[in-house]
């Protein structure tokens, strides 16, 4: 699983330029404040997140909110964003539309403080939506100044102490025009030293975080039973593009595909929903992972021919399945990653493998946990997800967290608040009969 990185493009730089053009105040930044939100409930987070939002004031903003709500069903993203950054200021006329892109700039305020913790830029590209987050705490001042400018716009009476920026007001209405501003800093609040001029072209357009939020024009299936074999996303059957593979690699890939198609319903379902859905499968010797799937482009890369096995293929295709459910470039959380490992373990147990033949639990230094996990996965395979006092659903959070502790390379993924494996449940719903 990878996040798509969008290379710098001049019109993206302009997003910041337009944002800055709204500001006519000198402003400052002290310590970038973090929100101090004590144990928000899910509902309180939702309420805070949309407190300033009014429908039908801006078409793009309505679409963004709709998409966020859809993604939230599977990821709990709104709770995460509110907990981490605070309250969005959804004031009107934040969006801009160009010939190819539309974007929406939303500053995020620390509750009960005259401070902006981050600026969210929602960028619509090729019908998909990305969220780029510019944090006020970013050590690159060129980036953090964006939050600073919004802070001054929203809280113009705040006292300046160490840093301020004065936008150069001689700009044109054309958003593509280069935007520049003066930067001043001070150590005594009285004498201000001129630091230089920043212009949009100088900004390294690399936000602190960059998330895909899926297909804006799509149906936005968020994890329920979507019915049929197609999980959404790409429409029309197109067999995978494997033209760059050697004939040996094609043979191995075909063997893996056949194994999964001849396997249990869970692997058949994943194959049926993803294989003819616009995959591009290739070998890339420069990747560090054994394989990876790009949820935005549908590109599945193996490091070498030896990396192609039915287990590895099934893992990556589960990410493709998730893209079908949650939209291209969906926000990939720890739960999504855990689901891919869980699916392979379900597959292995269906092949009569035992507790010593599963995936990530080999790294657990506790035989009791290993055996408990085996029994948990076996119970899911045999009964699906069950609720109640002794239901296996109650252990989803525990095992997802144990997985993250055991396979720490996924710790950087957003946690998400929804720990229930919706994707696996979706697959099971198609295997009931």
């Amino acid at each position: 699983m990878i996040f798509k990185f969008t290379p710098p493009r001049i019109r993206h730089l302009a997003v910041i330029g337009v944002a800055l053009s709204m500001l006519f105040y000198s402003c400052e930044r002290d310590e970038a404040q973090k929100p101090n939100i004590e144990m928000l409930s899910q509902q309180a987070a939702m309420d805070l997140f949309f407190k300033d939002y009014n429908k039908k004031e801006d078409e793009l903003r309505d679409k963004v909110v709709e998409r966020l709500l859809a993604v939230n069903d599977s990821t709990g993203i709104i709770y995460d964003l509110t907990s981490k950054y605070g309250q969005p200021k959804w004031f009107a006329k934040q969006s801009r539309t160009t010939k190819s892109d539309s974007y929406l700039v939303v500053p995020i305020c620390v509750p009960k403080a005259d401070s902006v913790s981050a600026v969210f830029v929602f960028l619509e590209q090729d019908s998909t939506l990305r969220l780029k987050i510019f944090e006020a705490s970013n050590p690159d001042t060129i980036i953090s100044d964006l939050a600073l400018f919004y802070q001054c716009y929203l809280f113009p009476n705040k006292e300046y102490t160490t840093r301020k920026a004065i936008p150069i007001q001689n700009y044109t209405k054309d958003y593509t025009e280069t935007k520049c501003w003066y930067i001043f800093s001070s150590i005594d609040r009285i004498n201000w030293n001129f630091n230089g001029v920043s212009c949009t072209e100088k900004i390294v357009y690399e936000p602190t975080l960059d998330f895909g939020l899926g297909d804006l024009s799509g149906s936005g299936d968020t994890g329920g039973d979507s019915g049929g074999g197609n999980t959404g996303g790409t429409t029309g059957a197109t067999s995978p593009n494997t033209t760059s593979l050697s004939s040996d690699a094609k043979n191995i890939l075909n063997n893996a595909k056949n194994k999964l198609e001849q396997g249990p319903c869970i692997s058949q379902t994943v194959m049926g929903s993803t294989w003819n859905n616009g995959l591009y499968i290739t070998i890339n010797g420069s990747i560090t992972e054994i394989a990876r799937y790009n949820t935005m482009t549908g590109k599945l890369e193996f490091r070498d021919e030896g990396s192609i096995t039915n287990n590895v293929l099934l893992h990556e295709l589960l990410h493709a399945y998730q893209a079908g459910l949650y939209g291209k470039g969906y926000l990939h959380t720890r739960t999504h990653e855990f689901e891919a490992w869980l699916l392979v373990d379900l597959y292995l147990i269906s092949q009569k493998k035992d507790m010593n033949n599963l995936t990530w639990t080999n790294d657990i230094d506790n035989d009791k946990l290993k055996l408990d996990y085996y029994n948990w996965v076996k119970s899911i395979l045999e009964n699906g997800f069950t609720t109640g006092l002794n239901g296996n659903s109650s252990m989803c959070t525990f095992w997802r967290n144990a997985f993250i502790e055991t396979v720490p390379k996924y710790k950087d993924l957003p946690s998400g608040t929804n720990t229930f494996p919706n994707t696996i449940n979706n697959i099971f719903s198609k295997c009931k009969n």
Partner: protein, 201 residues
């Protein structure tokens, strides 16, 4: 008052989290079984008919330091190829006498033995999962271990250059053992042959 309530909530929350994270362990009872030749760490599950026995000489933490689990190192590792159906039966017969085997079969006792192996098939550690009320003694477990080390052979289906640990296991029961036909080994070895045919060197 409001601050107090918040602190109390946090305290309760942390207690609940702690309880929840330890809940798994609470389902097990740990103790030590000492025989004439070796000692075993034993964990019995409170509700499932499962008791784990591991020779206390093993240190899995140290093993994992040298041989991390395959899924973190090379998820495409294909496991091992074996030909151990008959040799496994030989191990059992050398370790447990026939009368005892009949008793175990009459009691319908299950038997699982798991092996932690390195990338070359070298045996790193053995784990047994038996019935909670098993009549197998620790000396018999020790004998099983010794015979396993001397008789069973594991080879990787595809050699890899990196150090890693994968596992292999045999799930059976003493009725099968007494009858001389272990279904799970037959099935596993058939799968190994197919894996080697599809992906092996």
């Amino acid at each position: 008052m409001k601050q107090f309530n918040t602190k109390m909530l946090l305290l309760i929350f942390s207690i609940l989290i702690n309880y929840y994270s330890n809940a798994q362990d609470w389902n097990w009872v740990d103790y030590k079984v000492t025989g004439s030749k070796s000692s075993y760490n034993c964990s019995k599950h409170k509700t499932r008919n499962e008791a784990i026995y591991v020779n206390q000489k093993y240190n899995k933490t140290e093993i994992l330091k040298e041989y991390p689990g395959y899924s973190n190192v090379d998820p495409s590792f294909l496991g091992y190829k074996t030909d151990l159906h008959n040799s496994f039966l030989e191990v059992i017969k050398k370790s447990i006498n026939t009368e005892k085997l009949k008793s175990l079969a009459d009691r319908n006792e299950g038997f699982y033995v798991g092996f932690d192996l390195n990338q070359d098939g070298k045996l790193l550690r053995i784990i047994f999962v038996l019935d909670t009320a098993t009549i197998i003694t620790s000396d018999e477990l020790y004998s099983l271990e010794e015979n396993i080390k001397n008789i069973l052979v594991f080879k990787p289906i595809r050699k890899v250059e990196v150090k890693l640990m994968d596992g292999f296991g045999i799930t059976t029961n003493f009725k099968e053992i007494l009858n001389g036909e272990i279904l799970s080994i037959r099935r596993t070895e058939e799968q190994q042959r197919e894996t080697e045919r599809l992906y092996g060197n």
